[in-house]
């Protein structure tokens, strides 16, 4: 040491200071380690972590309402929910335009399905209304065409609507379509709304632009050669009913002025009722304030609604309320999942503890032979073990047959061991038992048997020696095994599905049902997120108690 103080910093072989050289070597080693880890880390993050995060995102996502009915959602903001009155005419005018577009794009049924999760009946309301919107449009189209046959002609509409200065509106409506059908509406429309028309006939121009984009890009037609769809006539009806528009038309002298003035003059031939009444005639549910409460409550782009449903609450106009009795099932299901997982964990401890003790205290050779009896079920396919329990437990199954044959159970009153909680608990205890025995065994192996002998020689009885000396040392094993079994059982799907019937199913089965049958993916994601949080908390505990590095497989 004293020599080096005279000669300055210690140098490495290549002449650079040792400290620097060591730091470089360390950095190189870190980089090499990271380079080895990187491919797998990237693979796991890309194909596992990100999919799970994006699934979690689905539990709050609610774009569909505002994407499908942008105008209605904007207009409904001024309406006060919970007043017991349906909104006014303006909202229904927007509804007509939005719903017409949606039904042309066949998106209205998806929206109906989405809202039906919150209020039963909305699915059919949207589906049937979507079909009948054409009729409302025709109640305007027919009289207009009678007033002047030019209303039937593609040229007439195109020359009146086409112009310049309306690029803003065109792009706005294109974005609306893109949001609604998920993109693909880019391209040349061959039409630009005229700014004069936007000022004079705002509804009509919007509806015509919507149609033009759809016709040009989705149907690949030429806008100037096609007659517009019924919504445009309905929109013209909306404009004509506005007194200011009538005045503006009187002063207008561009293309189509003559026909528009004729229409204004013959207003009495057009339907005399507004869109609110027209919707009410189509289906009186549209005047039901509850329908509008639901639409208003679920109009934001993100919602806590799925999470609330997952805990049997409901988002309504009055705030968060409880679900009606008959729809409360998730809290019950969560409780049942937790309860049954606890029972399974408990019975695994009861059955696993003696066996682990025996294995840990036998000579190694005998213990290895007996260990095979634990490992064989562990290695056997889950489906095999589940089918074994189905064979054993069913009413005509092996256990019942033996009991009947022995005369302990009457043939008419065979035990119901399957399709209920009993079946799930028995089968899952069997399936998860190795996961309890293996960690218990590895902890018990480390307990020195001389402690027990010492306790006894100091005068403890067998029970006291076990309870005060041995048991406390085996608690980490119980903790590790319990958390492992609990984590595994709480997310089980296959076994409850096959032997659980309706009473013995877990929350996972409900998630699977929502993914594959009811298609309520948002709710499935919310239920999954709650389950995931529970599991991660337990995993964190496991890490604190045992450490993930200490997970052992197969002894």
């Amino acid at each position: 040491m004293s020599d080096s103080t005279d000669t300055g910093p210690v140098l490495a072989a290549d002449g650079s200071p040792l400290k620097q050289s060591l730091a470089r070597a360390l950095r190189r080693e870190k980089m090499r380690a990271l380079a080895l880890i990187a491919p797998l880390l990237l693979f796991v993050v890309l194909t596992f972590i990100i999919p799970i995060l994006s699934m979690l995102f689905r539990s709050v996502e609610n774009q569909i309402v505002s994407d499908t009915m942008p105008g209605t959602v904007a207009a409904i903001q001024d309406w006060e929910a919970g007043t017991g009155e349906a909104p006014d005419e303006l909202v229904f005018q927007h509804l007509f335009i939005d719903l017409f577009n949606a039904s042309e794009a066949k998106e209205h049924t998806k929206l109906g399905t989405r809202l039906n999760y919150e209020q039963t009946g909305l699915s059919s309301l949207f589906r049937t209304s979507g079909r009948r919107l054409d009729d409302i449009g025709e109640t305007y189209q027919d009289p207009l065409e009678e007033i002047d046959p030019a209303f039937e002609e593609a040229d007439f509409w195109y020359s009146m609507m086409n112009g310049e200065g309306g690029e803003g509106l065109l792009e706005e409506r294109r974005d609306m379509w893109n949001a609604q059908i998920g993109g693909g509406m880019d391209g040349d429309v061959g039409f630009v709304p005229s700014s004069a028309m936007i000022d004079m006939l705002p509804w009509t121009t919007t509806a015509y632009t919507d149609w033009a984009i759809w016709a040009a890009i989705e149907d690949e037609d030429v806008v100037a050669e096609e007659e517009p769809w019924e919504a445009v006539y309905g929109a013209l009806g909306m404009d004509l009913r506005n007194p200011e528009t009538a005045a503006a038309i009187a002063a207008y002298d561009g293309p189509g002025a003559e026909q528009l003035q004729a229409a204004v003059a013959n207003m009495d031939q057009l339907p005399q009722i507004g869109f609110r009444e027209a919707f009410a005639e189509m289906d009186e549910d549209w005047l039901d304030p509850e329908v509008w409460d639901t639409i208003a409550v679920y109009s934001p782009r993100f919602t806590s609604g799925y999470f609330l449903t997952a805990v049997d609450l409901k988002l309504s106009a009055e705030g968060v309320t409880a679900q009606p009795e008959d729809r409360q099932l998730y809290i019950k299901l969560f409780n049942r999942t937790l309860f049954m997982s606890l029972v399974i964990t408990g019975s695994c401890i009861l059955l696993g503890y003696p066996v682990a003790w025996l294995l840990a205290n036998l000579p190694l050779r005998t213990a290895n032979v007996l260990m095979i009896l634990v490992l064989l079920p562990f290695w056997t396919s889950l489906l095999v073990r589940t089918s074994a329990w189905k064979v054993l437990l069913q009413q005509q199954g092996v256990i019942n047959e033996i009991l009947v044959w022995l005369g302990f159970v009457d043939d008419a009153n065979r035990l119901i061991l399957m399709n209920n909680q009993t079946g799930t608990i028995i089968a899952m205890t069997h399936i998860l038992l190795p996961f309890m025995i293996l960690p218990l065994y590895s902890v018990m192996k480390t307990i020195d048997p001389s402690y027990l002998r010492a306790a006894k020689s100091l005068g403890a009885t067998n029970f006291v020696a076990f309870w005060r000396v041995y048991f406390p040392q085996s608690v980490p094993g119980i903790g590790a095994g319990s958390i492992l079994v609990f984590i595994l059982s709480i997310g089980y799907y296959i076994t409850p599905e096959i032997v659980g019937g309706t009473d013995g199913v877990f929350i996972s089965n409900r998630i699977a049902y929502h993914i594959s049958s009811s298609l309520n993916w948002g709710l499935a994601a919310a239920l999954g997120s709650i389950l995931l949080v529970v599991v991660l908390v337990l995993y964190w505990l496991y890490d604190r108690i045992v450490g993930i590095d200490n997970v052992k497989l197969g002894g």
Binding site: A33, S54, P377, W379, G397, H430, Y493, I498, L531
Partner: protein
């Protein structure tokens, strides 16, 4: 220990052995009597038989438990045969076996063999009850698999035992479920020939590698492995639309590729993780273990939303075949699920790996790649293989993810079993289950052998 055990002599016959054996006999008698609706009478007869048996076996000199048990089993079986045919023979033999064994075990004082001499009667009783409890748990672990194997030979299309099966009549048994399972296409014999030849050739070529050990045994081993693979590949060749062979084929396509991905990436990452300085090791470990921790249903849901659009994109933009994309999706999904098992087993093996060996190799002029393949790899190979087997069984046994990610063309064996169990269509499931149990016994044996070899290599265990 046995040298230290003092021989306490035989317990009293009249006050101890006879009553206890009589109680056991009474219990058997009660159960047997119950079949004929006479449990009380059965109990009395059983108790008498038990007492007589205990006395008779106590008088016989120098009887060990095994001889006494088999003798009693033969006697009782004969009585059973007279009264109840083949079923009676089996039942009688089982009862006789347990009673004879029990009578000698109690009568000769062997029940105290496992406990110290100073134990009181109560402590001895508890010790033996404890052993019986453990025996019951082992029975609980293994017994459910037995009826499945037995029923898979059922001649009828039932999930339950037929009277013919219980009477052990030949017409009650058949291999028809196995025939159903294996029906459909394939050329196993051709596969066998090709496999054996290719295996032997590879075995020969391996010997030509520089520095390879030369032995005939290697050629034989390779030929046997080649034969096995050849039979399976030959059987699977060109199978389509078969009820069980197609799912088996899919499983055998998906599982090896998934294993290959998880083992190759996982081993590299485990080696990286075991270096001394890894920034954020805890976080990286947590991410890599997560596929094992996250409930399968959640993983499956996430993957469903991820792989469905990915598959469509691959088909539309890269023009890939729909079938190929389907397999790719399931393989990637299963590979992720297998990763934690590889990471855990390989890191566990690396804990015992002596780093000075790689330094020694480097000192002697080996480059990192040579060091890895010639020094590190052979030592951690057992861990890698058992991690791979875990990954394989994870994929081979997996239902939930494949249900969500795969399409009907990728139906795997567990999937087919799952639908079969839900709709209870045919007992061929039981044949499939038996075959899977056989496979898992083979895998278990392999893993156990590897584990012991690994411990021996690391000097951790004498066995």
């Amino acid at each position: 220990m046995s040298a230290l055990t003092v021989n306490v002599g035989r317990p009293s016959l009249l006050t101890f052995t006879m009553p206890i054996v009589a109680v056991l006999g009474g219990c058997f008698g009660f159960i047997t009597g119950n079949i004929f609706g006479q449990p009380g009478l059965g109990f009395v007869i059983g108790a008498l038989v038990g007492a007589v048996l205990a006395a008779a076996l106590a008088k016989a000199p120098k009887l060990n438990r095994r001889k006494a048990a088999w003798g009693t089993a033969a006697l009782f079986g004969l009585v059973g045969l007279v009264f109840g045919g083949v079923g009676g023979l089996i039942g009688g033999a089982v009862v006789g076996l347990s009673m004879g064994w029990f009578a000698v075990w109690i009568g000769s004082g062997q029940y105290r063999a496992g406990v110290p001499i100073y134990y009181t009667a109560g402590q001895t009783l508890w010790h033996n009850v404890f052993l019986f409890i453990c025996a019951f748990v082992f029975f609980f672990l293994i017994a459910p698999l037995i009826p499945v194997m037995w029923l898979s030979f059922n001649a009828q299309n039932f999930f339950t035992f037929t009277p013919e099966m219980l009477a052990f009549k030949a017409e009650g048994y058949s291999l028809k479920h196995y025939r159903d399972f294996f029906s459909g296409g394939g050329h196993p014999l051709q596969g066998l020939l090709y496999g054996a030849v290719i295996g032997a050739v590879i075995g020969g070529l391996v010997q030509l590698l520089p520095n390879a050990e030369r032995s005939v045994r290697k050629i034989v081993v390779f030929a046997i492995i080649g034969t096995l693979i050849g039979v399976v590949v030959g059987k699977m060749w060109g199978v389509s639309g078969a009820e069980w062979m197609t799912p088996l084929k899919n499983s055998l396509i998906i599982a090896p590729f998934a294993t290959l991905i998880s083992v190759s990436l996982g081993t590299l990452a485990a080696i990286g993780l075991s270096q001394t300085h890894v920034p954020g090791r805890q976080a990286i470990m947590a991410i890599m273990i997560s596929p094992m921790i996250v409930p399968l249903i959640i993983s499956a849901t996430g993957m469903f939303f991820f792989y469905a659009p990915l598959g469509n994109w691959l088909q539309a933009n890269l023009g890939l075949n729909q079938n190929f994309v389907g397999y790719l999706k399931v393989i990637l999904a299963h590979a992720v699920l297998g990763v934690p098992f590889v990471i855990i087993t390989v890191t566990a093996t690396l804990v015992g790996f002596d780093k000075s060996l790689t330094r020694a190799a480097a000192n002697m002029g080996a480059n990192p790649v040579t060091t890895f393949f010639r020094v590190q790899m052979p030592l951690i190979l057992p861990g890698v293989i058992s991690g791979g087997l875990f990954a394989f069984i994870t994929s081979f046994d997996e239902v939930v993810v494949v249900l969500f990610v795969g399409s009907a063309q990728q139906q795997t064996l567990p999937w087919q079993m799952f639908t079969g169990l839900r709709e209870q269509i045919s007992p061929t499931i039981l044949a499939a289950a038996t075959i899977l149990v056989t496979i898992s016994i083979c895998l278990l044996t392999t893993v156990e052998l590897l584990r012991r070899r690994s411990e021996r290599l690391r000097g951790m265990s004498p066995g």
